[in-house]
Symmetry: C2
């Protein structure tokens, strides 16, 4: 885990919000959009962009960055790319800050 890379990918309010939303999709996304939701996949790019009220390309890049930093996991299925949280990485980050920062 590259601490600086991870921290940079967290240093933006929208990206922090995305992590919150993905923690409990049913609490933050309209039920219709989650019709095919499964925890193993997550939520697709355009639904997240809509929730963020930002353009799809911008959010697409945000999500990719967070996946590179390992905070999210991407899964391509059919036309869609789904993103979910990487809980292990998030706990690892908490540990790293607790013990090594």
């Amino acid at each position: 885990m590259k601490l600086l890379e991870v921290i940079k990918s967290l240093s933006n309010q929208t990206r922090l919000d995305i992590l919150t939303w993905l923690k409990d999709p049913f609490a933050y996304f309209p039920a219709e959009e989650l019709a095919d939701y499964s925890p193993s996949l997550g939520v697709c790019v355009s639904d997240i962009a809509k929730k963020a009220k930002m353009s799809i390309p911008t959010v697409s890049v945000y999500l990719k960055n967070m996946a590179v930093a390992e905070l999210l996991v991407a899964t391509r299925k059919d036309k869609w790319t789904y993103y979910k949280r990487n809980e292990e990485a998030i706990q690892q980050l908490a540990q790293l800050i607790k013990n090594n920062l």
Copy 2:
């Protein structure tokens, strides 16, 4: 604790390094510079700037940012401003990431 503010103040390699150095000043700063060292004060701006190999004004601003974000505590004494880590805030950050991110 303002999470985004704290994360932003950590999103720079030099500022991360400063936190590491202040964790164990004797391991990172020349002994002469720590002649008057005390854990309750920390290390002064110019010693930190020297260690970082950066200009004093740049490091002065970094340190102030980190103090505003509560990661560091500043103490002015005589001509010097000393900075030390705020261990409580760092642990609080780790907890926040663990439980709320």
